[in-house]
């Protein structure tokens, strides 16, 4: 029996699978897909054996640098990447939380200069599970449950 795809296949490009349903639009924003001129298709609340429900994004004719993809690890730590060429998966990747995060997340400290002036936020990742990150500017630690995205 032929498998029916909920989100249609792409010939060439990148498939980002196993995105938590709540993180779909954050991933779209982090990868700046709002301004992507290529075909972007996505599905949300899809059945997943591992996650219950999940989201998936397929971006035609776009390949990302690891550095760029790793930015989504903050919101989708278990995301799986499939690199597609001519309908075949030629490479599989997982994301890793980088040591330093620039932009993406706000500092939780309302008295931080990054919340007072137009400053690109910068954090050093202190721990991955749960996420804890130290602001380069005010030196305060933002924890996973305090993370706010731009």
């Amino acid at each position: 029996m032929q498998k029916h795809l909920k989100v249609s296949a792409i010939k060439d490009g990148t498939v980002i699978d196993h995105i938590p349903t709540k993180a779909l639009f954050k991933v779209i924003k982090i990868l700046n897909l709002e301004n992507c001129s290529q075909m972007v298709t996505f599905g949300n609340n899809l059945d997943s054996k591992a996650m219950g429900t999940k989201a998936i994004i397929k971006i035609a004719n776009r390949y990302f640098a690891d550095e760029e993809l790793n930015k989504i690890a903050l919101v989708a730590p278990h995301a799986k990447l499939n690199i597609i060429r001519n309908y075949e998966v030629i490479e599989k990747k997982v994301v890793e939380i980088p040591k330093e995060i620039k932009g993406i997340v706000r500092c939780f400290n309302p008295k931080c200069i990054s919340n007072g002036e137009q400053v690109t936020t910068r954090f050093e990742i202190l721990s991955v599970k749960p996420i804890a990150m130290k602001c380069y500017y005010c030196e305060k630690i933002t924890n996973e449950n305090e993370m706010m995205f731009f």
Binding site: C107, C112, S114, E117, Q118, Y136, Y137
Partner: protein, 303 residues
């Protein structure tokens, strides 16, 4: 290339701490050295400060430098809505060094990124005030003859007190410190510091009582419970009078023990302590001038 700045106490190595101590000693013995002749130093105080500003300005004057700046942001173009970014870009074209106090945390690190001259952080909100820590260290070294094996009692506001946090981090560079923390539970030292001490295998003790346990101290570091750090004034009223040091409590303390306080004092050290030779806080403030001369000379490679 970015100029060498002093933003956090951890920006300096142990070698640099020792160099600053050595230079401070030299400036104390010989305070009028015109190393800053022909140089302009900007003191930008976006929020008011008496001691820190006057002490920096005294240091600059003693070194023969000229001062530009403001002591209150209402007399600067900040009141017209100028960003910190633009103020720093402009001033770093005028001056050879910027000394800055600002209410927002991280503002000094940001200023150092923008500036092409060295920046000294003279306080960024509740975050860092490294020149205070260096003068505290100089006061400990002068009175105890060492920075290793110091039994330090920190009293009062250990939660918000930035000088406390920085002094702990600095003393961790030296051998075998012992920390005793005396604070009400509402103002206890944040967990991140305790975890750090445990990881480093450093001995520390927490006490809620302010009693004869202080007899073991080499240094008692008193702090003010700062009203402006409280969101709820009722919380402030509850804790403000709890930890007051009185002369009678000093009877059995070590003869070499000294009491430090970053000042201003409100009521946490009773005035009857002032005449006790163990009271060191006013001399400590004087040490600030020599220490700040040392920091300026070090960052500008004048010594």
């Amino acid at each position: 290339m970015q100029a060498k700045s002093l933003i956090s106490i951890t920006d300096f190595t142990k070698g640099e701490y020792l160099k600053i101590m050595h230079l401070a000693e030299d400036f104390e013995a010989n305070p009028n050295q015109k190393l800053l002749q022909g140089k302009v130093i900007a003191t930008l105080f976006f929020e008011p400060s008496t001691r820190t500003r006057l002490s920096f300005e005294t240091a600059i004057n003693r070194l023969g430098g000229k001062i530009i700046g403001f002591s209150d942001s209402s007399s600067s173009s900040v009141s017209k809505g100028e960003t910190l970014h633009d103020t720093i870009r402009m001033v770093s074209n005028y001056a050879d060094m910027i000394i800055m106090r600002h209410p927002l945390e991280g503002s000094a690190r940001y200023a150092a990124e923008i500036s092409n001259v060295p920046v000294i952080n003279a306080g960024d909100g509740a975050n860092q005030h490294p020149s205070q820590t260096l003068l505290d260290m100089y006061s400990i070294l002068k009175t105890q003859g060492r920075l290793d094996n110091i039994n330090l009692f920190l009293v009062g506001d250990l939660k918000y007190g930035r000088t406390v946090h920085s002094l702990i981090m600095a003393l961790l560079q030296f051998e075998n410190p012992i920390f005793n923390f005396i604070a009400p539970p509402e103002l206890a030292l944040p967990n991140e510091y305790k975890i750090h001490l445990t990881e480093k295998g450093i001995r520390y003790f927490e006490h809620a009582e302010f009693t004869d346990i202080i007899n073991a101290a080499d240094i008692i570091y008193m702090t003010r419970v700062q009203k402006e750090r409280f969101i709820d004034p009722v919380e402030y009223e509850k804790v403000k009078n709890i930890y007051i040091l009185r002369n009678e409590m000093l009877r059995n303390t070590k003869s070499t023990m000294k009491i430090l306080h970053p000042l201003p004092r409100i009521n946490e050290i009773h005035t009857d302590v002032d005449s006790n030779p163990k009271a060191y806080y006013f001399t400590q403030a004087k040490n600030g001038v020599f220490t700040r001369m040392a920091i300026i000379a070090h960052l500008l490679n004048l010594k």
